[in-house]
């Protein structure tokens, strides 16, 4: 231990202990509810409601999960969430990188206006647009369809901003060299520009997938029948639909929504935290 080799002043040691105490207490408060959720979701309903509570489950049961996946159609909601998130992510990767490339590296009339316009809507919240968006989607006959769930999110201003900023840092020479070698514009974009953008694309892909997976208001409004619900919609509607809620079932549902995201986050946390540090946005 380094503290054995170099004598630490008493004040520093006290400060260090105080710091750790605060940080560990904070960590317990933040992570505790997730652990509690996970542990309670495998307890029988009676044990969940038991006073005083048990910490570790006395009886481990998967009945809540079984019920979610057999009686409640959760596989369907999971699939819906996945389809919507994958399509939204793919769309954003393609459309945002194409526009980001055009804005950063191609000269065409109107690009400044276009960029200002896209940037200006970065701050417009979903609450402001969802009513006319719904009218639009409903006039297109797309209410309660996957197209209706996905279309308004395929082209997000955040992705354009991210890709443009990243592309500005790539030297023009590389692109120019490919052009001189006779590559067409599309080929330059596909086999030179996109591979160079891999880190930015990874960040954009992760953030978009996450936003879509957790999105609530729009699927709540557009998915009108149960077979189009995404996971958050199903979870919210089931949990408010009952007077006395079945805690075990709802906690298991929350685990199904949260666990994939937590796993992805823990594996790819570098990308998450870099995305925030470089753009300052969620």
């Amino acid at each position: 231990m380094s503290t054995m080799d170099t004598p630490v002043r008493g004040r520093d040691r006290a400060a260090r202990i105080a710091l750790y105490a605060v940080l560990v207490a904070g960590l317990l408060v933040v992570v505790g509810p997730f652990v509690w959720m996970l542990l309670s979701s495998v307890k029988p309903e009676a044990e969940i409601r038991q006073v005083p509570p048990t910490w570790l489950p006395e009886t481990v049961t998967l009945e809540h999960y079984r019920e979610l996946f057999s009686r409640l159609n959760f596989p369907r909601y999971f699939g819906n969430s996945l389809v919507v998130a994958v399509l939204t992510t793919a769309g954003n990767l393609v459309f945002c990188s194409a526009l980001g490339y055009a804005l950063a590296k191609l000269r065409f009339p109107g690009r400044r206006v276009l960029f200002a316009f896209v940037l200006g809507t970065l701050m417009v919240p979903g609450m402001v647009t969802f009513v006319p968006q719904f009218v639009l989607v409903s006039n297109m006959g797309l209410v309660n369809s996957y197209a209706g769930l996905v279309l308004p999110f395929l082209a997000g201003p955040f992705g354009v901003f991210l890709m443009r900023q990243y592309l500005l840092s790539i030297p023009d020479d590389i692109i120019e060299a490919a052009r001189i070698d006779g590559a067409g514009e599309w080929r330059v974009f596909w086999s030179v520009v996109l591979p160079l953008c891999r880190p930015a694309l990874a960040t954009l892909g992760i953030l978009t997938f996450l936003a879509s997976w957790n999105n609530f208001l729009w699927p709540l409004v557009v998915a009108t029948t149960e077979d189009r619900y995404t996971l958050p919609v199903a979870l919210a509607l089931y949990s408010v639909g009952q007077n006395r809620i079945d805690f075990g079932l709802m906690l298991a549902g929350a685990v199904v929504v949260v666990l994939p995201v937590v796993v992805v986050f823990l594996v790819l946390q570098r990308h998450f935290l870099r995305g925030i540090a470089t753009t300052g946005l969620k």
Binding site: D12, A15, Y20, V22, L23, G26, L27, V29, V30, P33, F34, W36, I48, R49, V51, F95, L99, A102, L106, R107, F108, R111, L114, T121, V124, P125, M127, V128, T129, V131, P132, F134, V135, L136, S138, N139, L151, P152, L154, A155, P157, F189, L210, F216, L217, L231, P232, L235, A236, S239, V240, F247, A254, V258, V261, F265, I276, A277, G280, K282
Partner: protein
Amino acid sequence: MTAAPATTAPSRPAATDRPHRTDGVTGRRRRRALTGWLFAAPFTVLFAVFMAVPVVASLAMSFTDLRSTDLRNPWSVDVVGLDNYVRLFSDALFRRAAVNTLVFVVVGVPLTIVAGLAAATALNSALVRFRAAFRVGFYLPVVTSIVAIAVVWRFLLDPEAGLVNNLLRVVGIDGPNWLGDSSLALPSITVMAAWRNFGFLMVIFLAGLQAVPADLYEAARIDGAGRWAQFRHVTLPMLRPTLLFGAVVTGIGYLQLFEEPFVMTRGGPLSSTLSVSYHIYNQFGFGNYGYAAAASYVLFVGIVALSALQFRLLRSSE
């Protein structure tokens, strides 16, 4: 586009001297413009249809009496001028929602910032190891679904079976019915929001703290400043732009409060957790599209005003 005239000037006379080259240049320029727009087109079309048009339509709609039943019969929609806005501000429920939302923002934003700043400062200290682990832990709630978190917290705050009251019982306190009491429901949701969001600010503030030059602290120490004085007179002033950014982003998010009351309280008890967004959603559900659009524009104006106000406040106290 704003190339200096000095560099473009010589090429122009050359082009007019030889007309055939002008054709080549404009041809290339036209082709370049076409390429640019081809790359921009897919995004621009989608964006115009699903984002730009709705933003404008939302404003237009707020001056009409559009209802859900009019969707099949657009000719029955009438322009009603400012009627929706007049109704909105005389609607006791909307005023209640506006007050609730403002209280949530005014209490929640500082609370989240203090927690985020405390975590960032602690983690930035040279004394702490395992920094990455703490950072990931504190950030965890930010990436998870608000709906799922609201479900979990509804359970944590349950008066009988909830973890919070069970912990209070251990120390002999009979905990209240957090979400069932009209004076406690909104504060409970506020604390939960700070719990969920401070990790995001922590990451932003950490980046800001690491950009503060170390010699400033050195100079302050030489002047005899203790830890608190260093924080007060070096860290806080240097961090002002970052704090401003964090306050604006958090404020914008908090003004749109929706999922938490939807899942945890249904806006109750006695409308004590009804937010503006929730009110908009309810009005939309009743089919009052014009009215809902007006309310959402008021919310939008509130968001813009809050951002402007925070910029001014943090700037002028310099």
